[in-house]
Symmetry: D2
C-alpha cells in the first residue's frame, strides 16, 4: 500500500492523504471503491482521532481511502471547506486510473462538523458521493451557527436526488443534540431517500470508530459495530467488491419512483392515484385486480387501496399476480406520462 500526502492549499493547511492499495495479480480486479474521510472539530480543527483510524477501517474492507483536512478557522470560513471537498473529489476523479478507483463508487464519511460537510456533499455539492456516512453530524441551525455563520443546514436541502445516507449517533450526545440526526432522517424519509440509522443509548460525542484505543467517553458495547455495519450497507448500495469485480447493488438509493420526471410502476399507489386520467387508464388492469381481491376477501376496495397505498404499483401487481409481461407493458406506457410531482 502506498501513502501519499497531497497539499491542496498550503496557506489554509488543506491536504488530501491518499492510501492506495494494489489491484490485479492475485486480487483479480482492477478497480476498488473509495472512501473519503472527513474528520470533525467544530470547523476549528481536524481531529486526528477521526482521520487515519477511520481510513484504516475502510482500507481493511478493500477501499482506497482518503483523508481530507479542510480549511478551519482562523485560516478561513465557509464555503471554503466545501470548496476543499470539491477539490478533493476532483483529485480522486482525475487520478482514478492511477489510484485504481471506480469513480461511480466514491463514498464519504464525516464526523460532527465533518458530518456537516459530508451532509453538504450529499445535498448541495457539485460532486455528489455515491453514499454518505454521517456520524453525529451537525445539521440544525443552533449548532451550525455556533461553528460558523452562513453555513447551510443540510436537512433543508435534502431532495429526492440526495444520495443514500447511513446515520450514527449516541442518544446522550451533549455537544450535537440527537435531534440533529433525527431531523436529517425525517428529511430523507420525506424525500424517499434510502437510509439506515443507528442511535445508540450512550457514547457521547466524538467516539469515532468506538474502539478502546480511541474513545474518551464510555460507549455502549453495541456502538463499535457501526463500522462493519456501514461497510455491509455500502456493499448493498454500491455493490460489493469480490475477486470477480463488483456485484450488483441489492438496494436502490430511492425508495420508489415518485420523484422521477416520468411515471413508472415503481411509483407508489397513493402517488399514482393523484396523477392524470391518462395514467389511470393505463393502470386500469391493476385497479380491476385490486377490486377482485377486495371482493373475494370481503374487504372494502377503498380500505384495501389505503392499506397498500405506500406500495409501488409493481409490488401490488406482483401480489395480485398480474403477469410480468403485462407489468412491463404498463411500465412502458407510464414512462410516456410526465410525473406531476405536486400530486
Amino acid at each position: 500500500m502506498i501513502a501519499q500526502k497531497i497539499i491542496l492549499n498550503e496557506n489554509r493547511n488543506v491536504t488530501l492523504t491518499a492510501y492506495i492499495q494494489e489491484v490485479d495479480g492475485e486480487f483479480g480486479f482492477n478497480k476498488r471503491p473509495a472512501m473519503l474521510v472527513i474528520p470533525g472539530g467544530g470547523y476549528a480543527m481536524c481531529s486526528d482521532r477521526e482521520a487515519d483510524p477511520v481510513a484504516m477501517a475502510y482500507l481493511k474492507a478493500g477501499y482506497q481511502a482518503f483523508v481530507l483536512r479542510y480549511t478551519c478557522t482562523p485560516k478561513g470560513k465557509w464555503p471554503l471547506p466545501l470548496m476543499d471537498y470539491e477539490q478533493a473529489m476532483d483529485q480522486i476523479v482525475e487520478n482514478s486510473e492511477t489510484w485504481h478507483v471506480d469513480v461511480d463508487k466514491i463514498a464519504v464519511v464525516g464526523f460532527s462538523a465533518g458530518g456537516h460537510l459530508a451532509a453538504c456533499a450529499a445535498t448541495v455539492a457539485e460532486h455528489k458521493p455515491a453514499a454518505a456516512v454521517l456520524v453525529y453530524p451537525a445539521v440544525l441551525k443552533d449548532i451550525c451557527d455556533m461553528c460558523q455563520p452562513s453555513m447551510p443546514y443540510p436537512h433543508e436541502h435534502v431532495t429526492p436526488a440526495t444520495c443514500p445516507c447511513f446515520l450514527v449517533a449516541a442518544r446522550d450526545d451533549r455537544t450535537v443534540d440527537i435531534s440533529n440526526s433525527l431531523r436529517m432522517e425525517l428529511a430523507l424519509a420525506e424525500n424517499g431517500v434510502a437510509f439506515e440509522s443507528h442511535i445508540y443509548s450512550y457514547g457521547g460525542h466524538g467516539f469515532s470508530t468506538g474502539e478502546d484505543w480511541i474513545i474518551t467517553n464510555s460507549v455502549c458495547p453495541r456502538l463499535p459495530r457501526w463500522i462493519p455495519d456501514s461497510i455491509e450497507w455500502l456493499g448493498e448500495i454500491m455493490g460489493k467488491l469480490t475477486r470477480g469485480g463488483f456485484t450488483e447493488p441489492v438496494r436502490a438509493g430511492s425508495m420508489n419512483g415518485n420523484f422521477t420526471p416520468v411515471l413508472s410502476v415503481d411509483c407508489t399507489l397513493s402517488h399514482l392515484l393523484k396523477q392524470s386520467d391518462e395514467a389511470q387508464t393505463v393502470l386500469a388492469p391493476m385497479y380491476a385486480a385490486i377490486e377482485a381481491v377486495a371482493k373475494a376477501r370481503q374487504f372494502s376496495t377503498e380500505g384495501l387501496m389505503t392499506a397498500v397505498g405506500n406500495n409501488t404499483a409493481r409490488e401490488i401487481m406482483e401480489m395480485v399476480q398480474i403477469p410480468a409481461e403485462a407489468i412491463a407493458e404498463i411500465d412502458k406506457a407510464l414512462h410516456r406520462i410526465v410525473n406531476n410531482l405536486e400530486g
Copy 2:
C-alpha cells in the same frame, strides 16, 4: 419451565400466556425480570409469528415471558385493548411471588398495532412498564385512524415520565411508514427520555425476530440483531440478572433532571440559566469556575457557556474540578428550589 394460559376475557378472546422459569437452587436468585409480548395485526388479529417466537427469545435471556392476546375487531374496540393490557399487568403483579417476577423490572415489547399498544403502555397507561421495545410501531394519525378510530397517537402523549424506549423498524416499511418511528423518537428527545433506535435499510413490515423461519420478506443481514441488542439495552436500563441477583442499572431513564419538580445538579446548564435568581446565587461557584477556564484558554465566557449548555451542572463541575463535597452541597441547595419547567 411451566406454560400456563389464563383467560382474561372469554367473550373477547383475551388471554395471557405465562412462561415461567425456575429460580433458586442452582440459579442463585429468586426473582427474574419479565417481558410482556404484545403481537400485532392491525387490531384485527394477534399474529402468531409475533407471539411465542418473541417470548422464546426473552426466555433464553432469563426473563419470565408473557404473551397478551388482546381484544380485536370485530370483538371490540379501543380502549378495550388498553384495558386488556392493564388487566394483564394486574395479573403479573398479583402473581409476582408465584411467578418469581421482580415487579420493578417488567418490560413490554410490541409489534405494529401491538407496538401502538406498547407505546400507549409507556405513555398513557396506569401500569407503566420499566421499559418498552417498540417494533415498527403504529404511532401517527393516518395509520392509527385506519386501524380503529379514537385511539391516542402515542407521540403526542410523551412526557418526561415516559419509560425508556428501544425502537426498531425497516426503512422500506410500506405498511407503517418510517416517519412513525421517527416522530416517536423526536417526542422522546424533546422530553429528555432515554432511548435507542435501529432503523435497518430493508426488511419491510412484520419481520418479527427477523429469523429465517419467521420472515416473509427479505431482511438486511444486520436486522436480526435487534433481539440480542434489545436484551443488552434492557440490562443497562433495568440492571442485569446474574447469579448474585440484579446488577445496578448503568443508565437512567431520563437524560437529565430538567423535568423533575425541584432543581438539581443533574439539570443542564441551559435550563439552569433560565431559573430564578436564587438558583443563580447557588450556582455562583460554577459560573466563576467556567469564567476562569474561559480566561485561561482565551475563550469568550459566553461562547463556552453555549458550548456546554446541554451538559448537566454535575458534568460541568466535574470537568472544572469542583470538589465532590461542594457539588453535593450545591445539589442539596438546588433541591429546595422549585423547577420552573417553562424555563
Copy 3:
C-alpha cells in the same frame, strides 16, 4: 407452546420434558427440527443450568426442544443412561406427528457428562442423531472412569458413520481437560467426519450458554456466541427451516467418499491412487489432464499429484475443466468398483 413432562422411569427419576411449538397457519411449514438437550453433572446429577436455559435457545431458533434427565448414581449406572437416551429418541420418533418433528432432523446437545452421553449417541447408540453438539464433553479414560467405570471412551468409537459434531470448550477447563475435546476432534478428522470446533481462551467448566445469568466463572466475551454459531452450523448440516419448509443442506456429514462401500469421484486422489487397476483405467482421463497441466506450468507431475492428493477426483476434474458429463460417466463407472478401505 406446550410444555409436557414425560416420566420414562419413575424409580430412576428419568424424565423427558418436551417443549412443542406450533406449526401451520401463519408459519407455513408443518415439521420442525428437534434438539434433545442432555445436561451434565458427572453422572451424579442433571444440572438445571444445562437443561431448560439451553432448550430455550434452540426453541428461539425454531426447534422443538426436549430435555432428558437420565439415570444418575446412586439410582443406577452405565449403560442405563444410554438406554434412557434410546428411550427418549423412541418417544420423539413415535410422537413425531403430534410433536411436528422431522425425524431426519433430530440433533443432540450435551454438556460434560451429558457431552459424553451425546458423544456416545453420535458413535455407539442405535438411534443416531443427525448432528451432535458437544460442550466440554468427557471423552478420555481418566475422566470417564472417575464418573463411572466401564463407560466407552467415545473417541475410540468414531467411525466414518459418526454424525457431524460441533465442539465447544474453554482452554482453562480444570475439570475436563481440553485434551478431551482435542482427542475427539482428531478421531473425527481421521475418519473424515465433518465438524466445527471452538476452544475459547477462558471460561472454565460448566458455563452452559455462557450468559450472565447462568455463568459461575468469568468467561471470555466471545464464548456466548457458541449458541448462535451452533444454530447456524446445524442449518448448514441439516438444512435451514424457512417458511417454505427446509432448505437443502449446504454441507455433507463426510468430507469425502473414501469410506463408502464403492468408489466415486468424491474419493480423494490419494485414496484413489491406492485402488485397483480397474479404477486406474477409469480415471485415466483425469491423470492425462493433470499431466497436461503439469507440463504447461513446468511442474513435476508427481509433485502436482501430491499437492492435490487430498482433493476429491471431482474437485480436480472440475479444476482441469473436464466436462460435467464426462465426470458423471466416470462417477458411474467408479460406483461399480468395490472400495478397498485398506487402501
Copy 4:
C-alpha cells in the same frame, strides 16, 4: 500513517514493509503494540492476499503493522526464512523508539507456510513474539517436507516457554490437513501453554481474512470473525491499548505454574502431590481444609482430591476460604523449593 519499505536482502527479495501510525497528541499514548504479518505461499512465493489486507486489519485495531516478505525457492531455503524473521524482529526492536512500538507487545500472524514460520517464531526462534496467530499453519512432516526438506515440525518444539497461540483453520482444508492445527494444539495443551482455537466447518485453504474481496473459496459465514476475535484475544494476553496506555493483561501465557523453576501456589494440586516431603509440609493447611470439606459433604477425600487435581493450589485454597495472607505465606514458602518437573 507512514508506509515504508525496507530491503532486508536484495538478492533474495527479502523486504519488511512498515506501516507506522501516529502517537501522542490527541491519542494520549506514545507506544503501540505491533503485528508482524507473515504471508504464505508454500515457501515458493509470498501471497499478496495474505500481506497488506491482513496488515490493514491490525492497523485498524491500533497496531503498528509490518509485512515480512521472506526468502522463497528458488532464491534460497530453510533456515533462511527463519533468519529473515530474526532480522525483521531486530529491525522492529532497533527502531522501536522511532516507530512507537512497545517491544514487549510484538505479535506475529502467519498463514500456511507463513504459519509454519510464525509457529517456528513461537517455538525455536531467538526473538520470541509475545503471541502468535497461526492461520491454517503447516506443522506436520508430510506438508513441511513437501515445501522444503529439513524444516522443523513446530509441534515437536513446543515447550512451556512457547508463547500463547491463536489457531484458525477450516475443516475442509485440502492443502494443509486439519490435523496440522490439531497436533499443534495438543502440543500446546501438553505444555500448559495458553491458546484459543477456531476450526470452521468450511472455508478451504488460503481464505486470508475471509472477506468477500479476498476469498477464492466459499467460506462459512462465521469465519471472517477470526480477525476481530484474534484482536480481542491479543488484548487479553498483551493488555489492551487505551487512551491512558495499556491495560494489564487479564490472562497469562501459561495455564499454571507447573513448569517454572520453583514451586508456587499456581501449580496444580496433582503436580504438587508429586513433589518433595518439604512441599507437602508447607501445603498441610490446604490438605486439612480439603479433608474437612470432604467430611462435611460426605465425599471421599481421595475422590475430592482427584476431582480438583487440575486446579491450582491458589484456586483450591480460595474455594475452601483460606485467608489471603495465609495463601501468600504458603506461596512464599513454596518459592524456596525447586520444582521437580519429572513429577
